[in-house]
């Protein structure tokens, strides 16, 4: 393989990885932007999304087959179900804690994450589940570079979801309310915005995007595991910070940047793929120290 082939191949790998990161990072950033909560359970919602998608796919595969029609159906259902789960979690665990000290709410979020991941572990006995689909292995063959149609469809659908989100946030009344709450919650309340409903909506959207990413990851990697939310949660947080936490375009950009960095990071001599995670967590730590506002984040002076 020539150098340009390697670059092209890693570009493709990085884009797909990056679009998963971006979808999960969006949920982090939206929730953080609106109520300043670092939702540790977010990565686990991605995992639950994958499992719900698996469940639905195995139910509908008799009717629609396990090709794109079935996958689309399971993805939509998974997004709805996990979105609702996100709202329920917010209602039960986070609403009573909003006035509590920061330490308490962080520990609560951690507890929610434990309940989700260990709940799924108890159900699946900690086994890997094979996510079988009928998607073929055909794809675009560009000399030495191979991009499967599955990869293409996944990247395009991730992009589509992000465009829809962008339009929703910037063109609709609900989106406007969301942006307003991120700036000043009390003023919004005075203006007659139902703040609680908008926060719930934010959780719904964030969780369902994570679920979409979970189903896509299931399709792409072909297997699911209860612990898969942990690492991607951390990675997506890194992505959100790279882009500037609280900024929606930032999360998309950060996800893609991180995905590409990781894909090309595996090509550095003497650094095998087992060091991939050290690479991105190290990047996160350095970034938080030197540029905590990220690429697109606003500089803000705030009370600690």
């Amino acid at each position: 393989m020539s150098t340009s082939d390697i670059i092209l191949q890693q570009l493709a790998n990085g884009l797909i990885l990056g679009s998963f990161y971006a979808l999960v990072a969006l949920g982090y950033t939206m929730v953080y932007g609106i109520i300043k909560l670092l939702n540790f359970a977010h990565g686990d919602l991605y995992m639950v999304g994958g499992f719900v998608g698996f469940l639905v796919l195995s139910l509908v595969s008799g009717l629609m087959g396990s090709s794109w029609a079935g996958i689309l159906c399971s993805m939509v259902f998974s997004m709805l179900a996990v979105g609702l789960l996100g709202v329920i979690i917010q209602r039960i665990a986070y609403v009573p804690m909003l006035q509590a000290p920061r330490l308490s709410i962080l520990i609560t979020a951690l507890a929610v994450s434990m309940v989700l991941s260990n709940g799924v572990m108890a159900i699946t006995d900690g086994e890997y589940l094979a996510f079988n689909t009928d998607l073929g292995y055909e794809g675009l063959d560009l000399g030495n570079v191979f991009i499967s149609y599955t990869q293409l469809v996944l990247v395009v659908s991730a992009a589509l979801l992000m465009i829809i989100l962008y339009l929703f946030v910037h063109k609709t009344l609900y989106g406007k309310a969301m942006r307003a709450i991120a700036i000043d919650q009390d003023a919004c309340r005075l203006m007659g915005i139902n703040v609680n409903r908008i926060i719930a909506l934010t959780f719904f959207i964030g969780s369902s995007l994570a679920a979409a990413a979970g189903v896509m990851a299931g399709v792409y990697y072909g297997s699911l595991h209860f612990f898969m939310g942990f690492v991607i949660g951390l990675k997506a947080f890194t992505a959100a910070v790279i882009g500037g936490i609280g900024s929606i375009p930032g999360a998309m950009l950060g996800g893609l940047v991180l995905g590409l960095l990781e894909a090309f990071g595996t090509q550095i001599p003497f650094v095998g793929s087992e060091w991939k995670d050290v690479f991105s967590f190290g990047l996160l730590i350095l970034l938080l120290i030197f540029k905590p506002t990220g690429l697109l984040g606003k500089t803000e002076i705030e009370r600690m």
Partner: protein, 320 residues
Amino acid sequence: MAGSSPLTSVSDWLRPQQNRMIVLMGLAGVAMLIPLVANNYVLEVLTNAWFYAILCLGLNIVVGYAGLLDLGYAAFFAVGAYTTGILTSKFGVNFWLTIPVAVSCSMLAGLIIGGPTLRLRSDYLAIVTLGFGEIVRIIARNLEITGGASGLIGIDRPSIFGLELSRGIHFYYVFLLLAILACFISYRLQNSRLGRAWQYVREDEDAAEAMGIGRVAVKLYAYVIGAMFGGVAGCFFAAKMTAISPETFTFSQSVLILLGVVLGGMGKIPGVIIGAFALVLFPEVFRGLGSMRMLIFGIVMLVIMLYRPEGIWPQKQREV
């Protein structure tokens, strides 16, 4: 109206320092004598409980006293265990000589991670410590000197005055003594100038800074002292197990230690010890639970945070 109920009369009786010491001595005596009646299984479980008590007391300094969320505490414990492991098994250094090295290494790790990050907001700090914990585990997994994924074996058992510490009962006393020492240090720290500074920073960082408390320095002390506790516990852990592997130091381990602190009551020494014991005894008592253990812990943690955020035995607010 003294002694209106048994509970208030007990707490009245406990108020003078003298009476408290009597109770503490009594408890310590019971702990010392338990090995005479316990079988090997009970002894092993209790040893484990004291071990977690040391770790939880160490984390309590960071989370309970200084109010910083540390999600990578297992990393410090790993640094201690690996330092001792590598020095004794690969270089044949005497166990007792590895302790100062291991403590210095874990304190250094605390400085490295705490130094630059303690200026950050608390939720960023939580994520950074989480990432740091994972980095340490992945490094231990991939380096040659740490034995890779299979870990280190053949770590020397320490001996003291010609007696080789090899039986369960020896380690029971080792961990009991360490736990008592940890309690003593925690107690002295809590009531020191530094302890008050931690409490101030925890309650109101800006006000503390305005009063001339060096915010970052005070937090760094908490971090480094917490790391030291973890390092010492790690040394003796390595000596007890004679083999360590990276999978002992996962994120779940850090969460488990944090759970012990939260369960019993952040910042309160007896509470933290009760939390550590609950952590170890609960799965032993309910053995049938198996894989449900962490799920139930998660639910318990959630319920505690929602309904009793100060833990089972909370710290009393200092009266003015």
